[in-house]
Amino acid sequence: MTEEYIIDIQHLSKSFGGVKVLDDINFYVRSGEFITLLGPSGCGKTTLLRQIAGFVVPDEGRIMLEGKDISGIPPHKRPLNTVFQRYALFPHLDVFDNVAFGLKLQKLPAKEIESRVKKMLKMVSMTDYEDRSVDSLSGGQQQRVAIARALVNYPKVLLLDEPLAALDLKMRKDMQLELKEIHRKMGITFIYVTHDQEEALTLSDTIVVMNEGRIQQIGTPTDIYNEPVNSFVADFIGESTILNGTMICDRKVEFMGHEFECVDEGFGQNVPVDVVVRPEDVCISSSMEGAQFSGVVESCIFKGVHYEMFVDTDNGYELMVQDYDSFEPGTKVGLRINPDDIQVMRKERTCNTIEAEVEDGEHVSMLGCSWECRVPEGFQEGDKVLAEVAFDKVDLLDNQEDGKLGGEVHFLLYKGDHYHLTILTDDGDHLWVDTDDIWDKGDLVGIDILPEDIKIVRRNG
């Protein structure tokens, strides 16, 4: 089986200075595939690519290339080539010598070098630039030279580290098409790193969505878009509204105060879930005929092809809707969502569960400090327990100093009627908070929890 996988990543982990950048990464790449590592900055995707290239040595795990472990092989002996983020062309060499660099190191005959370089420059449409200094090239041209420089060595796999990030939008779109074309012509496996979800959807055969050093989902672009496995993926890929819901029974889900038919099964009865609604999947009309619920248009912005509207629904939720027709703000509209456009996802967690230790009858220590709370009968000092705190019972304060401990808003998700925040505490723990207040990513906050909101339970096992 492994034969058809050109690259097989097994249990890869890496920490920098005690911070886990990659945590047990597993995936494989099929020969000839265009695979994209997609995630926000700092998710570990570049580190993963650099490990494949050989610039970073993994702490644990193996990187198999055609069935052989290459984790211990230095970069210059790996049959892989990289297109770097800012091209990394050698400024003291001209275009020809840049492209010929790898071939000259292989001590190939001058004739062969020349013909291969010329062929490759032709493929990236840089034929007349051989003698130009690389400083005199535009970003797009440098990009082409960088691609040629890597591909001229016929690598088994081409690694691309956000190669288009430095280009402007128009140029980026053109280069995307060209990359796709080059990939098709050369038949070489591409591993592509980007934070741009649109780029990933356009280019890839397979997308690996990453966040915080872990793989969130692997799938084709359509899989990832239509069936995100969790709220992170749903939020990161495309536009969406993510709402709290309850799976009433198979094929019936409740959210925004209404019951909807859906196509999902097997969640059980009355299970809390996350529901994803893509804005283009909400049908909007001025009549109530056939509508499942109603709302009032709050804002309407022209987006080129469609209009983007925010609608206040009858039960006080805010829903993003895209439609080719525009509806004036203030218009009462009827809304419906078809069963197969409702994506139901299991909740990753329903409350904060924090590892804690009992100090005495009224205190536990957790998150690096001591908290007052009611410790129930039957627990003794030193008992390892879990503290459960509901999402909406964590208080966020404007000043870090005012809280019991400080933290930073790490990730935020609008859930139709409130925000669901991920807070990274100063000690590196995560807390999840529901709040009506508006915070921004990166805001520093103080964190407090009232004694009565901390519920102590036993740890399993």
Partner: protein, 266 residues
């Protein structure tokens, strides 16, 4: 108006800085023993300088030779040591890097006399007989920091991926160093070499303390001794004038090349 005033000020300062140099240049064209008394135009001093018929004998010429040779050796050694050091320091972890940079700053912050006295004590302590070698070692000591300082910015300006790109394309670490890193650092190494060369040429105090008693003279110590004996060797005047002209020409060339390179890239 403001602009004229500003220009005026700059030129006034320059005039002040250049007055003594001009003074030397003017009096290089007369035969009088002391500057300030004009005994008619003559190029005799220049002739003496070139024919070696100098009143101080061979001492002046050998001092010039020593100065140049010491500067050349010291600058060359400093450039190699400093470049290797800069690459090493650049790759150190934050804390050790700071420590190294602090150490590197010491010879630059220390006044010449401290460097001179401390090295004098070192050679005395190690019972190392002082002469040519000690002077060169001392010059390397105070020159290398300038090389490190001029190579470091090149390292941090460099696209960090360039070195990796070379490895990625199949270069061994040694090849990557030779074919990519060194060419990238070359401008910094050259300016470091130039700085080291100039610092060495101009040094007086450190040489003074480390040259021992073997009668080794550089231009600086020669001039110092000469002046203490009373009256400068007149041939120093044409020598200084020529050095000044040489520096002037060199700087003009460097600046022209620099601005041309700039134009070419723009």
């Amino acid at each position: 108006m403001k602009k004229a005033l500003a220009k005026c000020y700059i030129w006034l300062l320059l005039a002040m800085l250049y007055a003594p140099l001009l003074f030397i240049a003017v009096y290089s064209f007369t035969e009088s023993r002391v500057m300030g008394s004009w005994t008619g135009f003559s190029v005799k001093l220049y002739q003496n300088l070139f024919t070696g018929n100098v009143s101080g004998g061979a001492a002046l010429l050998s001092a010039v030779e020593n100065t140049l040779l010491i500067a050349l050796i010291a600058a060359a050694f400093s450039t190699v040591l400093g470049t290797v050091a800069a690459i090493g320091i650049f790759n150190l972890k934050e804390r050790s890097r700071r420590a190294m940079q602090f150490l590197n700053n010491i010879p630059m912050i220390n006044p010449d006399i401290i460097t001179g006295v401390s090295l004098f004590l070192l050679f005395v302590f190690l019972r190392f007989s002082q002469g040519y070698v000690t002077v060169v070692l001392a010059h390397i000591t105070f020159c290398t920091p300038y090389v490190v300082l001029s190579v470091m910015p090149k390292l941090s300006q460099m696209n960090p991926n360039i070195y990796e790109a070379a490895l990625d394309l199949g270069a061994t670490p040694g090849q990557a160093l030779r074919k990519v890193l060194i060419p990238e650092l070359r401008p910094g190494m050259i300016s470091g070499f130039m700085m080291a060369f100039t610092m060495s040429l101009d040094d007086f105090a450190v040489t003074f303390f480390t040259r021992g008693t073997v009668g080794l003279d550089t231009l600086s110590t020669y001039i110092y001794a000469d002046a203490r004996k009373g009256g400068l060797t007149p041939e120093l005047r044409p020598l200084m004038t020529l050095i000044f002209l040489l520096v002037l020409v060199l700087l003009v060339i460097i600046n022209l090349r620099g601005s041309r390179a700039k134009n070419a890239t723009e």
